[in-house]
Amino acid sequence: MGRVVDYRTLGTVSGASQDRQCRPLAPAYFGTSAESMEDVEERDNLDMRLYREADDSTQHPHDTESLFAKLAANWKEQSRFMSSPAEMANLASYRQIIAIGQPAVPLLLEELKKDPDHWFWALWLITGENPVREEWAGDVEMMASAWLAWGKQQGYIS
């Protein structure tokens, strides 16, 4: 069996990310299928590389916006024919957006404002919040509205 890599023992990626919770992207968060320990380790090690790469971009806001725009466009293209939110969230471009962390939150919310899409998983992972009521589950427009209302309340967007 492979060893599971635990982020919490590896320290922060860089000074800029110290106030960002680095949530492990454990397999339980991505659908319900069981995965081998080797799969978990491979995913965790990939996550650490993605975190470092995305974290480098957060030193300069313009770089973050450019990187985000590129990743978002890439994700939309790759996920357009998928029906599983878990599969969509597992795409490398989506995980890189998650890895950007807090700086991605206003960008994700602006994306929701322009064109409601499945950014809910990323917002939940980055912020730890879930403002979507149970009865709105699956109603993409209501889910987006809930996040936009939350974003205005938190001061991320106007």
Binding site: A28, Y29, F30, G31, T32, S33, E77, S79, R80, F81, M82, S83, S84, P85, A86, D115, P116, D117, H118, F120, W121, W124, N130, V132, E134, A137, G138, D139, V140, E141, M143
Partner: protein, 152 residues
């Protein structure tokens, strides 16, 4: 001119007749479409991740068995094949192994109707979407057609 992304993801689609039957609509996915719901995205995600719609009484599992139960809540029951039967409408579940990937409505012997993820609805030949993304058809289901309501 760059190729249609549909042809890139579904190489067999470009080799058979198909037509686009709706604009892009992100409100619903293929599972919802097959169930007759164009207002919600159906998928069995589990807390703590954000929930999507899933029939309340059905296990939130990504298995063919759970998807059969989900379609059962809107009147479908398993059947042997996609051959049209008078008085019945049919759907088909695609999977890779036991992991559901897609569902389509059976329109006729040569035409199925699919919602392509967050993208468009299309009508296509039965085998046209088989491949890496959707797997292949594994389970057919049928339900009695509703009688059309009488106009006053």
């Amino acid at each position: 001119m760059s190729p249609d992304p549909l042809h890139i993801q579904f190489p067999l689609l470009g080799m058979t007749p198909y037509r686009i039957t709706s604009p892009i609509d992100k409100k619903y996915n293929c599972i919802a479409w097959a169930a007759g719901d164009t207002a919600r995205f159906w998928w069995p995600t589990n807390p703590p991740v954000p929930r999507y719609y899933w029939p309340p009484s059905v296990p939130r599992e990504e298995t063919v068995a759970a998807f059969v139960l989900a379609f059962g809540t809107v009147g479908y029951e398993p059947c042997a094949d996609g051959a049209l039967e008078p008085g019945f409408e049919k759907i088909v579940i695609y999977a890779i192994g036991q992991k559901p990937k897609h569902a389509a409505r059976v329109v006729s012997a040569v035409r199925w109707s699919s919602k392509m993820g967050s993208d468009r609805d299309i009508e296509h030949a039965p085998g046209a979407l088989n491949g890496q993304l959707y797997g292949c058809p594994v389970q057919y289901m049928k339900r009695p057609k509703k009688a059309p309501s009488k106009k006053r």
